[in-house]
Amino acid sequence: MTTTAESGVHQRLADLAERQIAAGEVRGAPAADPVNLPMIRHWAAAMGDANPVYTDEEFAAGSAHGAIVAPPAMIQVWTMAGLDGGDTVGPVAVMLAALDESGFTGVVATNCEQTYHRYLRLGERPVAATRMSGLSGPKTTALGVGYFVTWVVTWYSDDEPVAEMMFRVLKFRPVERNPEPAKHDPYPLAPAVNRDTAFFWEGARQGELRIQKCGDCGEPRHPPGPVCPTCRSLNRTYTLAAGVGEVYSYVVHHNPPVPGREIPFVVAVIALPEGVRIVGNIVECAAEKVGIGMPVRVVYREMDDELILPMWIPRES
């Protein structure tokens, strides 16, 4: 979706690009060091390039070059800014800075095309001249929305062009990573948990619907309590319910507002095949669609960082 603010940003960038392109070729300072054997030797050693025309005077003398030459791919090395930092005022630098300011802070190079008119010899001092040639976008990429910026560098030795480079980068707005889950505000209607009921809530946290049953006669009961209403035993245990049931009865709560809840909401009594009834909310179902006998199944909802409540959603019967 393009918002007014976005199209304003785009217009500003497009206008700036037009001005930078119109500025044409801007020459930088000559190479800090002339083409020299020590830098070539370090480069060739680091690259593992054993080509003798770069380092072996005798071999080079007998070659088509007639003398030591620099590796063509070193062309950019001669005019690198080094530790002094880079260009900040050239047409491309200004464009890239504007993209940074507009939030397109990511950068990845996509294309590099170099043409070598001839090999450089020791002692030459190339000058790089840069012109911006294009801005395209915004485009949606795997990295995020961004703009492609293209520029051309021509290296001159005295006034003779010796090499050219077309270079393209994608400046993109990094896709935001999923933030850490925000701490929920505590749910205001937390149940009172006591020694009789703790097993039930612990079950809900583990995705289990635990139904209390008598440790002696095996009769299930809900809600949990200390004494078996059938045999009066104090021994209790629990069984795991299948998590399905039918609506036995329900109300739709419209008013008054309840903290932590959106109205209207449905409070139902669900009859379980295990032989007990349980109170819970019906969710993911419009209130007017709820009816007696409606088949439902349990879901577990995270209400805050501590509490998980079993709730009920419609199921195919």
């Binding site: 593992g48 054993a50 080509n51 590796p71 063509p72 791919a73 070193m74």
Partner: protein, 135 residues
């Protein structure tokens, strides 16, 4: 270094594969030899802080390695006329760069070699190198 035979430079001929172990020393020494002092090419902490897995090869080195790969094959008398590449996934320290290539076309003495450099994440560089072979 040797000059390849006529047979070896026909369209379709394959270049021998070259595997380059990208040790931290490789990444750092090539970055410095190309005068690139951007921290992501030598400072692990800064590289990881910006979301990278480790320090990684700079582009000037990728160009240099592609050139070296092709001239290793073409011999010292070949002249490199141009390198045209698309850049792909980063080549991180600890990985290996495997360069492969084949002769895509030949017109007289001018040969175009297709090059592909892969790392464990996929294509790091793909493109062509134009060369003038000695007669």
């Amino acid at each position: 270094m040797r000059t390849p035979t006529e047979q070896e430079t026909r369209a379709g001929a394959a270049l021998p594969e070259l595997r380059i172990e990208l040790t931290p020393t490789t990444v750092v020494s090539t970055a410095l030899a190309t005068m690139d002092f951007t921290p992501v090419h030598h400072d692990v902490e800064k590289a990881t802080a910006q979301g990278s897995k480790d320090i990684f090869l700079n582009i000037l080195t990728t160009m240099g390695l592609v050139e070296r790969y092709v001239t290793d094959w073409a011999g010292p008398d070949a002249l490199v006329r141009g390198i045209n590449v698309r850049l792909g996934v980063p080549a991180y320290a600890g990985d290996a760069l495997i360069l492969g290539g084949r002769v895509a076309g030949r017109e007289g003495d001018e040969v175009t070699v297709e090059v592909r450099g892969t790392v464990s994440l996929g294509d790091h560089v793909t493109g062509t190198v134009r060369l003038l072979l000695p007669r």
